[in-house]
């Protein structure tokens, strides 16, 4: 037989091709999240996701944590919302860097939006970054952003079934703040039951009852995050 390269084998006109594509559709976001993670760690910035339901107290919790932490850390906050900069302005009043991210219609932040926001702050002047997601207990669970730890905030005013109705978001949570405990009795919600449900879905997570208006429980959230 003669040596050398043979003709390329090609499908004939009209022939059927079976192609193993193996494209992971969620991978684009995961790749960007990994880049964000690398960039943050190269500057030694610790990033913490704050996710949770609408009106549960995500921004209030961040404000109270800033109070405890701003003497020890240079803090920046990314504030995801569909529209407005109301919360971002509220946070900026605490003397920390605050970047509003408006998603327009999207119900969650993604790694691309976070990567754009990262270019707005001086990472070499930042130690700690809170990334507050859009109020939502479903979508943010599917889109990692590149942070190190995750807080999920729920509150008793949302009723007694918030945890078991949205189990997936708790699977990646390090801390679960159960907020507005001062209203638990009026709402007839058993905070201990919520804690047990969080623990049964994700035994790694630490549920912490809080009242982000008075500051009760916030020190424990901070401690649990290792800050």
């Amino acid at each position: 037989m003669k040596s050398g390269i043979k003709d390329v084998v090609k499908a004939e006109e009209g022939e059927t091709y079976d192609i193993e594509l193996d494209v992971n559709i969620l991978e684009a976001n995961e790749r960007l999240a990994e880049e964000n993670r690398k960039m943050l760690s190269s500057y030694g910035v610790e990033a913490i996701d704050v996710m949770g339901s609408i009106g549960s107290g995500k921004t209030s919790l961040i404000e109270k944590m800033i109070g405890f932490l701003k003497n020890r850390y240079r803090i920046a906050v990314f504030k995801g919302d569909l529209t407005t900069t109301i919360d971002a302005e509220m946070i900026a009043r605490h003397g920390v860097e605050s970047v509003p991210i408006n998603t327009g219609r999207e119900c969650h932040l993604d790694a691309n939006l976070v990567s754009k926001a990262l270019r707005r702050i001086d990472l070499s002047m930042t130690d700690l970054l809170f990334i507050e997601n859009v109020g939502n207990l479903i979508c943010p669970a599917e889109f990692p952003l590149g942070s190190d730890k995750r807080i999920v905030v729920i509150s008793v005013t949302e009723g007694p079934y918030m945890v078991i109705k949205h189990p997936f978001i708790f699977m990646d949570a390090d801390v679960v703040a159960i907020n507005k405990i001062d209203l638990a009795e009026a709402m007839a919600v058993d905070v201990n039951k919520l804690k047990r449900e969080v623990k049964s879905i994700n035994p790694k997570s630490v549920p912490v009852p809080t009242n982000c208006r008075s500051g009760e429980g916030v020190r424990e959230v901070v401690k649990t995050l290792g800050l």
Binding site: A11, E13, G14, E15, T16, Y17, D18, I19, E20, L21, D22, V23, N24, I25, L26, A28, C107, I138, C139, A141, E142, I164, P167, F168, M171, S200, I201, N202, P203, K204
Partner: protein, 123 residues
């Protein structure tokens, strides 16, 4: 939850591959959806039919294979299905991150996939 945007990306990646092979028509697309994603197969199929209209994928068959969520335990080396909280109140069993064998904390191995596995096309 993100069926529209996800399905758009699925269709886009298949069309890109089809163009690369100068395909005339796409016959079949096989998709793997993990049980822990927030993608409902029925809604994915609904958007697929609408988005592919007028393209060479219009008549293609979309087959969706569900992939069970699985976990791995570092302590007892269990690897397999989740354990579930099965309270009649919940209506669907709630997956938990407890090892069904030893009760230790487990990590998720499978179930978060949204993969275009293979495509059949006529060139």
């Amino acid at each position: 939850m993100h069926e529209y945007s996800m399905t758009s990306q699925i269709v886009e990646s298949v069309l890109k591959e089809a163009r690369r092979h100068d395909a005339k028509i796409v016959l079949q697309v096989r998709l793997i959806l993990g049980n822990l994603t927030f993608l409902n197969p029925e809604q994915v199929t609904f958007w697929y039919r609408l988005i592919t209209k007028g393209t060479i994928m219009e008549k293609s068959r979309l087959s969706i294979q569900r992939k069970e969520g699985t976990v791995r335990c570092q302590r007892c080396e269990y690897e397999g299905n989740f354990s579930y909280e099965d309270d009649p109140l919940y209506h669907i069993p709630i997956p938990t991150l407890l090892c069904p064998r030893c009760g230790n904390i487990v990590e998720v191995v499978n179930g978060k996939e949204c993969i275009v596995k293979c495509v059949k096309m006529v060139v």
